[in-house]
Each structure stands twice: as C-alpha cells, then as structure tokens.
C-alpha cells in the first residue's frame, strides 16, 4: 500500500464521487458544530434540551466549513492518486474541523481509544473540545496530522515549505486564511517558491481561503479587484486558480464539482512540473499552481440570527448562536442547523460513520491525520555526526589565551561535515548572515545556498540544490526550520543576536508546541530547534546601538524550563562541544550565543568537553586560590567577551593584588544556575555552593542583561553577595573595549568590584583602585581621540595562568 506520487487524474469525478465528498463534508461539519455546542445527545436522537448544551460556548465556527470542505476534496484526490498529502491549516483556530476530519478517518480513535467511533466516543469528542481538561480549541499538538497550531497567525506557509524540503514525494496542501494573509510573516512566505527545488523537494499547494472576514473586519485580499489579486499571486510566482463556491445558496454538489475540477487541475499541473523536474526537462523555476477559494464565512451555518445576517459575515467568526442554553429560539436554530447535515444519513445506529462516509477516508498512512511526517519524531533518525573533537583548536597550558580563532568559523568546518554526512536531513537557515556569522566559507566547502530564482555570471554558491537556506526574513528562516523539524529532520538557524527578537513570538509558540507535544503520548520527540546567535551585542562595532540587544535569552527563559536550554560557549572548543550536544538533542529550544570575531582560545578539547558536560565549573588555571587557602572571592563569567574580561581582571588581580585568593568560574549552560526544582538542569545546592561558595562575594560578568543572573540564582545561599555586571543598554558605534567600558563590564571594573567586595581590601589597596579608575578614564579618552582601543586591550592581553599551571 505504498503511495505513488504525482499521478495525473484518472478520470473526472462522477456524481457519486461528489456525493461521497458531500456526505463526508456534512459529517465533518456536523461533528464540528457538535464539538462547539454539545455535551450530550450527540446524534440528536432526542429533542435538543438545555442540558445537552455546553455551559460555556468556546470555539471558532467561521473558518471551519472551509477547512472541512478542502479536507473532503483532498481525501478524494489522495484516494485517487495515492498521493502522500500533509494538510497544514493556517486558520488553525478552525480546530473542530481538523479534529472532525481525523475522527472520520478513524485516526482519532486510534490515537485516543476512548474517543471511539460510536455514540459514546462521539459524545467524548464533543465534550472534550474547549473543555477544561480536554483539548484546545485550535489545531494543536493533540490534533493528529497537525504541525501548525494556527493560534498565532502567519506561519502556515513557511511551515508548509519547511515540511516540503527534502521530501520529493510529499504534497503539502496549505490553507492560508485571508486574515493570516495580512500578517508580515505570511506575506513574506509566498516567495519561498524561489528556493524550492522541484526535483529534490516536495510540492506546496497554497490554498488561499478568502472567506472575506477576520474577527470584526473584512479582509484586505477579499476586497481588492480580482485582477489585482491575480496579479499579486502571479507576482508571487504562482499560477492562481480562482474558484468561488457557496454564493447565493449554490447547491453543494455544484460547489463540489467546481472545486474538484480546480483541485484536479492544480494537482495535474503539479504532477507535470514534478515529472518535468525529475526528467530534467524543467530548467527554469516553474509557476506552481495555487488555489484561491472564495467561500462564505460560516458557510452552512445559520444564515440569520436575531435579525442580523450571520453566514457570510464576521458574525460567524466564533459562536454564531450564543444564547442556546437560555433562548429557545436560538436552541431551535441550532437543532435546525445540526439537522441540516442530515446526521441520520451519515452515522449508523451505533453512531459510527456509515460506509459511504467511512470509505471516503484514504487508507492507512495516506490518511491526512495519520501521515507519519506530521508526527516527525516517528520518522526522525539521529544525525550522523563526525567526532567534533577532530575539529578542535589546539590549546594547551602554554598556549592558553595566546592564539586567536573565530569560534563560528571553526564550527563551520564541523558543520560542513554534518552537511556532507546527512545530505537529505540537515539544513542551515539564516537571514543572509551565514557568511557574516563566519560559518562560511567552511560550510560552502560542502554545499551551496539553495536557490531557484535567476542566477547571473559571478554568482557564488547558489545552486538549485544546497543545504543552506537564506532569505532576509528571520520569520521565514525560522518558519522553514520549524516545518523541517516538525516533519522529522534536523537543522540550525543562525542569526544576529539582536534580531532574534524578531522571532520572539515564534519562539514562544514553538516552545508551547514542544511543551504540549511532550504530554501527547503518541507524539515522538522531534529534533531540537537550534538557534546560533552570533554577531552578538559586544561586537557590533559597525552597526551600533540598533544591533545591540542580548534579550532573546530572557524571552527564551520565560518559556517552560522543560523545553528551553541556553548555552554561552566562550571559545571554539566549547562551541564545538555545545553544538554537538544540541544537534543530538530532541524536544528543546537550544539558544547558543557565540562569537565570530578572532578571539583567544582557552580550553583544550578535553577540558572543553568536560566543562560543557558539567555546564559550568572552576577554571583552576585562572584563579589564585590554593589547596590550603579558600577563595576570598569568586569571579564568574558567562559568554565569550565577559569571560575574556574576567580572565583579564584575574590577571590584573594576580599581578597587582597578590594577597587575594581568587577563584574564577565559567558558566556555559545558564540553566545550571537555577535550583534543582526550577529547571531539569538546575544544579543541586551543595554542588552550586561548592563552586560559588556560600559566603564569599561573587562578581559575575554576564553576556546579557544582568538581572537574568539574579533571577536564576535568587534561591542560592550566596545570592545576597552576588554582584552582576552585564549589558545595561549602553551602546553605540564604537570599539570593542569601549563597549565593555560603557556597560561597566571591563576588566578594570570587574577587578575593582572584587576588591571593593572583599572585606578590608578596598582600604588596603586604594592605590590599585585609583590606578584602575584612571586606566578606565584613559582608555575612554584614547578611544575617542584615536578611534581605536588602547593597545593593551586591543591585543586582548592575557597575562598567563594561575597556580594550577
């Protein structure tokens, strides 16, 4: 029973084919209305009474009949063509429709056996919807066949393309709501077809569902002349097929006939493109078909309620009849509405779908609710990874801090191997910054950027097939990656740190998806969403203030600790180890912040691997504590620039304040700072105290906004004596050292912080404090006069190791 991709239509649908489509559609609509309204009496075998109705009516009817209409027709084409079809629903708040479809396919009962295909199961299906302890009102991880929540609008088409990459036999049918179409991310997504490879990737069939209304407003695309709309879609590179159904009470079978013809036309065009692509006949980017489906909002629902038109207007957006429990007329309308689907023809005595309806579902994994790629963890295979240790930068005690390397460039060399060894399951996504972030040129030794728009002489690393996907839209990069991961593959999104905020909300939605999915028994874990943030806050020398923002970490850490991890590797070897860990992991959002500039290297590969394994630890070679003398203070750091400054501060202290016993700590995995009960990575208090002490002053140099460290550590014994320096929103176009000076994160300030916090030391070493205050002032003046940092810091001076060497 394997799928056979890209068949042409065998014949026009017969009248009985269309009657079957209609029966399935009516059944799905009946089940949708039932979910919104009914607690009991699911088959309407008794007169509809108050107690049969939910006390709180929650759900969205308006978009639902359009979704079920498309599903009904896709079922026919899937059966006829045996075409693997993933159904992505932008208007995912039409959840009842998607759930109804999975139920009619039998998938729902397979996933949730108590929601069986009988009267009792139907009652459970109805009751659980938008009910406390039940299922959400939108398509969600709980919904079989879904990879797109559709609560926050805008990501369906990007998800659809992400699902299509590297799955050449997959059709992704993506319904885009006309509300969603107004969002920026969706508007940008149309151009995804410029990167799709018709031979090696699947096909996306966008179905723009113009039902005309959002919550309370008409939609823009429904209110422009058709020639303008068609021009727009042609401009997006599509061949639009426009069909209007349901107007003026058009008989359903007429609507079905016309939509079936358009859908067949679209699928035939796709089949032809795919055939031409596979034989090499297709050389230019094709104009993929897409469908514009005009249908009334709330189609088949109440036409008029309390004197106001409902069907075909915004009034059908949520619950068209709101007074059904207390208003007999409303209740009567609801009963009439439900009966209009003729449930007696659709469900048998037991409450199961009659054969006409049941047999409309495709077989097995061809059912849209059962397609394996919609449960990506089920098809996911781990990456083949070479040993990252082989890419190590050589560091030993003698060379520590002496040689420079670009961490992301080193990572790029390893990623080139990942790409080479996983040619169909791993991609890198980024908003035109793979080169700027220095992953190139190494990555381009293995691959190109995938590109199917025009090429010109002189273009470099653009090819129809490539593993790097670049477009100047963080939304699109992340949306593609999410779609790719949700369908069982692996990837990495690299972007400028500041502009990760552009996808804050997408991060939140994906984290919510992961958290919910982890509680769905049949969902297998998918690969983690890996962010590599480079070009970070401390090294935006030429872009300045607008590019200086480390707050994405804070947004990520507001999400559930079950799904979020944040890593701040501080040199190339710790980055390699971190990246290896992230690419192996499942179920998380991993945020990795790493530098791209030439910077000193600190840990040997063995040290780095061990340090990353622990997530944090003492750097014994950097401090001055000895076996017989406990530290007077702890100087901790997280992030490459803060660690450099902390190590330089340790150097200064070692040289100028030799009487001080100092411990130096580095943190790579931020969540280790949290207490055990707060985060799965949280370090037990005893272990934390063994590193940070319980009672010595801790000066913490942190990459981002300093309060985050307080938040993470506020339950620790030492917290009241923890002093954090970080980015305090002081920035401009200036030199690297001036940036740390501006934000009081520089080596002198850190060293002074330590002295000021060790009892008695400030008094005895007032000379040093004065000297360093002066050094800071001179550094600022020098920079302003000469435009460069003072030579000492420009050379990133690191003055040798501590007693452990």
């Amino acid at each position: 029973m394997t799928a056979t991709a890209w068949q042409l239509r065998r014949a026009e649908p017969t009248a009985s084919d269309l009657e079957q489509v209609d029966a399935w559609w009516r059944a799905a609509n009946y089940l949708s209305v039932g979910q919104i309204y009914l607690l009991d009496n699911p088959l309407l075998r008794e007169p509809l009474e108050r107690e049969h109705l939910k006390p709180r009516l929650l759900g969205h009817w308006g978009t639902t009949p359009g979704l079920t209409f498309v599903q009904a027709h896709l079922n026919r084409t899937i059966r006829e063509r045996r075409q693997r079809t993933l159904f992505v629903t932008g208007p995912g708040h039409g959840g009842p429709g998607v759930v109804a479809g999975a139920y009619l396919e039998g998938v729902y009962s397979e996933r949730y056996p108590d929601v069986s295909l009988d009267e009792q199961g139907m009652q459970r299906l109805f009751r659980q919807f938008s009910f406390p302890g039940g299922i959400p009102s939108h398509a969600a991880p709980e919904t079989p066949g879904s990879i797109n929540e559709g609560g926050e609008l805008g990501y369906s088409l990007a998800h659809a393309y992400g699902a299509a990459f590297d799955d050449p036999d997959l059709l992704v049918a993506c319904v885009i709501g006309d509300g969603e179409a107004e969002t920026g991310p969706l508007a940008a997504s149309w151009h995804s077809n410029k990167l799709l490879n018709p031979a090696a990737d699947g096909a996306v069939l966008p179905i723009l569902h113009l039902n005309g209304w959002k919550i309370a407003n008409p939609t823009l695309l429904a209110r422009i002349p058709e020639e303008e709309l068609v021009a727009l879609l042609r401009g997006y590179g599509h061949e639009p097929l426009v069909v209007e159904v349901g107007a003026d009470g058009e008989p359903a079978l007429d609507a079905h006939a016309r939509f079936a013809a358009v859908l067949d036309d679209a699928l035939d065009r796709i089949a032809t493109i795919k055939a031409d692509a596979s034989t090499g006949r297709l050389t230019a980017r094709p104009a993929w078909p897409m469908i514009v489906l005009r249908s009334p909002k709330g189609w088949t629902g109440p036409r008029e309620v309390d004197g106001s038109r409902v069907e075909g207007t915004w009034r059908s957006h949520q619950v068209p009849l709101s007074g059904v429990r207390d208003d007999d007329a409303h209740r009567g309308l609801l009963a009439e509405w439900l009966r209009s689907y003729r449930p007696g023809e659709l469900f048998d005595e037991r409450g199961a779908p009659v054969p006409l309806v049941a047999s409309h579902a495709p077989e097995g994994e061809l059912r849209m609710g059962a397609i394996p790629v919609a449960n990506g963890g089920e098809v996911r295979e781990p990456l083949r990874l070479t040993d990252f240790r082989d890419r190590a930068v050589e560091v030993d005690a003698a060379s520590r801090g002496a040689d420079e390397a670009e961490a992301t460039a080193i990572l790029g060399a390893w990623l080139a191997e990942v790409i080479r060894d996983n040619p169909e399951t791993f991609r890198i996504f980024g908003p035109d910054e793979t080169a700027s972030n220095r992953l190139a040129p190494n990555v381009y030794a293995s691959t190109d950027r995938q590109w199917n728009a025009e090429t010109l002489p002189g273009d470099e690393h653009l090819a129809p097939t490539g593993r790097v996907m670049e477009v100047l839209s963080e939304h699109l990069c992340q949306g593609w990656l999410e779609g790719y991961l949700l369908t069982g593959r692996h990837g990495l999104c690299n972007t400028y740190e500041a502009f990760a905020h552009i996808v804050d909300s997408m991060l939140g939605q994906h984290a919510k998806w992961l958290e919910s999915a982890a509680r769905v028994p049949w969902r297998e874990p998918i690969s983690s969403l890996n962010f590599l943030l480079s070009s970070h806050v401390w090294r935006q020398d030429h872009n300045g203030f607008s590019h200086q923002d480390p707050g994405f970490i804070d947004v990520a850490l507001n999400k559930s600790p079950e799904v979020v991890r944040v890593y701040l590797p501080f040199d190339a070897n710790t980055l390699l180890s971190t990246a290896d860990h992230c690419l192996r992991s499942t179920g998380y959002v991993n945020v990795v912040v790493a530098g791209k500039q030439p910077a000193p290297q600190w840990l040997s590969m063995a040290e780095a691997a061990e340090h990353c394994e622990r997530g944090l630890g003492v750097l014994p070679w950097a401090g001055t504590e000895t076996a017989d003398r406990a530290p007077d203070a702890v100087l901790a750091a997280a992030g490459d620039v803060p660690t450099l400054e902390a190590l330089a501060a340790a150097s200064l202290l070692r040289e100028r304040v030799p009487e001080l016993s100092l411990r130096v700590v580095n943190v790579v995995d931020l969540t280790r700072l949290q207490s055990e009960g707060q985060h799965p990575h949280g370090l037990p208090d005893a272990d934390f105290d063994a590193i940070f002490t319980r009672d010595r002053p801790v000066v913490f140099a942190y990459h981002g906004y300093p309060w985050l460290i307080h938040r993470l550590t506020y339950k620790r014994a030492v917290h009241d004596d923890l002093h954090v320096r970080g980015y305090v929103e002081r920035g401009t176009t200036t030199t690297p050292f001036d940036m740390v000076l501006l934000n009081d994160l520089d080596r002198y300030r850190l060293a002074m912080d330590v002295i000021e916090r060790v009892p008695g030391l400030a008094e005895s070493r007032a000379d040093v404090l004065e000297e360093w205050a002066d050094a800071r002032a001179r550094a600022r003046a020098h920079t302003r006069e000469h435009g460069v940092d003072i030579p000492e810091v420009a050379d990133w001076l690191w003055q040798g190791g501590g007693p452990a060497e």
Copy 2:
C-alpha cells in the same frame, strides 16, 4: 515661502538642471566616501597618506549611492514643485548618504554648528562618522530629517504611511531596499494603500531600490522576471514605473535624464490623484504610482579590487577597499575613487559647496533635512483631553467589589471623546481587535475604521475617513503608529497581550530611538508610544495556551529605564487615570495591561486618581491591620486578576483567620518597585519600606512571570521575605478560575501562602490550610466535570471590606 502642494511639472529638466543634479550627487557621494574613510585631508589637497585614513573602517557603501541619487533628484522636484517632502530611507545603514545630504543642504551645520560648511567642518563630518563618541553608522535620531533608523530592516514603508496619515499636503518618498523588501513587515506594508485616504492623508511614493544584493546574497526581487515583479507591484495596488540606471557604465547624465523623467511622471500622477481626490472626482481607490529603481550596488565605487568585481556586487556592501592603510594599491584606488567625483569642482577654497551645489538645496523647511515633521516634537501639540473623571464608574465603600464593569469599554467611551476633540491628530491602531478588546462599540460612536478598499452592503463602521486603523498585522499597526508619532501626532495601539511579542523587536528599536533622541539637543520630545494590551493571559478562555503570554512587559523593561513605563490598572477608574496620564506624556513607551471582561470595580475615581498618582499604595479597606497593630504580613498585587484573587484571599483570611493583621497593597506602576537609582519612577527605600515593611513576609500576586517582581525589588530590605506568584507557563483552554489554580495564583493559594509565612500561624491554623487545599482540589474537579468554575468564584465573590471601612 510656503509650500504649494501637488503641482504638475512645469517643464522637462534642462541639461543644466541635470548637471546640477549630477554635481550635487557627486558631492554627496564624495562626502559619503569621505565619512567612511577619511580622518584628515578632507579635500584631498595633499596626496592621500596612511595617517589620513581611519584606523577602523566601518560603514556601508553599497546602498549609499542609490540613496544619494534619489535625494539629488528629489531636491530638484522639491524646488520645482515646492512640495513638502519627507525622505524615509529603509536602507538606513546607508547613513553616510543621508548625512551627506543634510550637510549639503546646510541643515547639518545649523543643527551641529561645529560641523561647519568649510574644510574644518568637513573634516569633523568625516571623523565623527562611525567613530567613538561620534555618530552612528546608520541614519539615526542624530541625523536631521530622519524618522527611520534602518538598522533593523522592514519598517520604512509602515513608517512612511504613518507619517502620511492626516497630513494631506505631505509627500513621503520612501526608499525600500531590496533586502528589506524580503522581510515580513515590509511585505505586509505594501497593502497600507488600502487604508490611505487620498483626500485627507498625504501621499506615499515607494521607491523600490533594486541594487540586487544583500550582505552576501542576491535579492529575490532582483532575480525574478520583470513581468513577475510588475505583476506583484500591481497586485499590491500600485502602478509601477521601472527604470534602470548605471548599467554598463551608462553616462551619469543619461541616468539622470531617465530617472528625472520617471520621477516627474510619478509626481504628476500623484498630483492628479490628489487633485481628483480634493474635488471629489476620485471615488475608487487609485493605483498610486511607485518607482522601481534598478542601479548597481556600490555604483560609482571601485569597479574591481584585487581581481574581483566589486561595483554591482555584494562585495560593495560595506567597505569596498579594506586595506587602504597598509596597502598602497588600495590607497591609490581610494584616492582615484574620491577624485572621480571631481571634488575641486564641487567645493570652493574654504571647503564649502560651490554655488551650483549649494543652490540645489531647496529653501528653508523644504529641505528634506529640515522638514519639521521629521522632528515631530517640534510640531506636536498636546491633545485636547476631556476630564477622564467624568467617565468614572461609580464606586463607594458600600458598592466596592459589588458591581461589574468592562474596564476597556469604559476607556472606549473616553477615547471616543479624545477622537472627537482631536480629529486630525489622534488615531487608534490595532490588529482587528478594537472590537474584541471592547473599545468598540463606544469608540465607533465617534468614528469609523478608515478603509479605502471595496465596501459591501452590510459593512459597519468602515469609511474612507476614520480614526481607527485595523489590519491583521501587529507590525503594520505599530509601524504606522510609530510613523504617526515621530511626525508629531498621538495614538494608541491595542492588541492581544500575547501577540505583542510579535513586535518585541520593534519595541526595542523604538525605545532605542527614543533614548538616543533624548540626547539630541534639537530633537523635541514626541508623544509616547502607548500600548494597550488586553485580552490578557488570564482571560484567554477560548484561545488557550497559544494566547497566554505576559512576557511583553519583561521585554519592555529590558530597555532603558529612561524610556519605559509599565502600568497595570486593576479596574476601570484606574485604567482611565492611567490612560489620561499616558496620553499626556512624551518620550516614553507606555505599556498598559488591562482587562476587558466584566469584573468588579474597586476604587472610586478620587481614590483611583490618587492611587495612580502614587503608582502604588495600601488598600486600607481590604486589610485587617489597625492603627495600634502593625501588619503580620503584606499581601500585594499587580494586575486586575491578581488583585481580585488577592482581595478574595484577604476576605478568606479576614473571615477564617481573624487573629492575623494583614495589609493589602496594590501596584499600578511597576517601575515604582525599583530602587531610586534604577528607574526615575523608583520609590525611595524609606517610602517603599513604609508600604511593604522591612521585615514582614510579603506575598505578591503578579500578573506576569513572577521573577520580574524579584528583579524589580531585589535591592529592597524585604526582598528575602518576598514571595511572588504569577504566570508560570501553565495554560490551556479552560475557565478563568482554573487558570489561576493552574498557576498557583488563586485566592486559596495566596491565603495559604500568607499563613505559611507568618511565624507560627501554619501550626495553629492547620485546619484552615487543610480546608483550603481541599477547596482547591474540589474546584479543579468541579471545573473538569462541569466545564464551569465553582459558583463561589464564578460569581467573583468579594466579601466586604476591612477595618478601614
């Protein structure tokens, strides 16, 4: 010397007109290159030596010559037509070009007298660019005439429309980079023309600048067939005028002639549309012209460097010649490049622009660098505001907590008056949620939604002129509002709380703009950016988890305390008072979170005004402390739902634990919690301690993520005994009370928290703890069984006042 809007061209430009355009262009290019490279020898009067060059070369050349080209031509049309023209530059990282333009106009020297129009001034101009202590590398608040930073790409066109609203004589010429055009926000912005009113608003002329390349990739729109591009732009509702210049070494004067003709054509078309609109001849939405300008990236720069093509490729993106200090050949190329502009013809002996160049600038406020609306505070007038107290909900000691009202609906009634009294300077923006957030219907008593797409019978509150702007794009709503504010007007953006995260990054950029602008002496303060977040985390009953996220507050509070304010009014009267305050304020981002559901009302108007004035305070009627007995504990709350739960907890405690002396505190202005030195609103420690005590347990019920309260209060004496409850990322589609139960924010939990934290009380009142633990379990079970909250909480029971009554 007043402007006279919307003239047709008087004549074709003569050869000498075009020569003047060219001279100005060359001068602007010369100054741009000078800014990127030169420390000294600004007029190249000596051979170019190493020491004349900046030690660090930071800047973006690639997009600059296109910007200066457009500026040069706009200067001609402004002079000829006397047309007020605001220049918005999406590729704002072409900062040198915009600065050069303002310098040539003389505006720069007026704003910064030491950057004078002579050799010394020119040297300062060059030196300060991207230099520590100097000016940023992008167009920025420091740049005269700029309202758009262009560091984070995507917002130029939305800003342009925002500037055009309600300024019927203003032309906004908006250059859109082809990189920027790939972003979601920009892609969505094209449809802004469906809301613009051709009679009452200004005109926007988008100029899509196709120079073909981003940082390292070709741009999508430069690599699709022209017919596809034209279809796309027609689909956006524009009449595109395509012009290619500079190809194959085209002589500059030919380029100028062709672009001048296209620009004249575009402006004539706009003038015709405006004339037709003003006479009423125009009834349908017009197809506004727009220009597609194809020019080589890095045009007029080095054609080839080290054997690689640079002009016309991505290699010209930043600094085309990177080795000029150490590589004589590079330095020679730079000298040649600078001399190619023939500076000797452009600047006189003193270094001032020669008359041919200087006289190309328009006069006075017609200069694009001097246009008053680009310094919005200069033209801003305060709103006419009716007394918000007149809209008060009646509350007195007897009715406190008894009557319900919808806070946002009450606000809507007052906003209707604001709209009525400020018919040209105040607008409400929102992503189709003005009704859902309950500002409607009251707001629609005064106005409609502005809409210039098709209307159909049955449409409500859609009109060509209206004060509410709705489209389903948070980016667009905020972008329009920012443009509107930056040009001197007032407004409010209302959105679902969770989806404010969609514009996190825009918030950050605007906050950075405000912070930088406050340090620019000639920039007058603009109206604050007011966010009204409703449909908040606690009342997303029907949308569930995807709509539950209170983290926008955290993102806002990461920005500079100088510019961010966060308010959590907890009933209608506190919301009215807060809104009045926000609409009067300048220079801030005000984030206001307020409920829209029917909810009990707590403070009389007089109390509310006083409470909001203080920002926080004791609610004496809710606690049980007495004059002769200090409190045993403090129960604090911020936000409407947390305050309701805290007050209900206080009721429970009063009834069941009468031996407890309890103080109840409410916080409206979150930043009052911070220490004096941390935020301008920070409460002095003594005042804080007087409210929260120094040594009693504080249980704090907070609207959002609980760690924020710890962050804000961590320097307070009581901090170690502060226990915060808030949203901990537990959510789903469920009832209101179940939501607070899920997150441990419910009245029982809060009351138990108090008991558990007062020494000895837990032991003596174990009975009560057990009873309430049981009540919580029963509430959850009841909700799961019946789908509704237990009656006690569904009725929002508030059991009378405390001893102060």
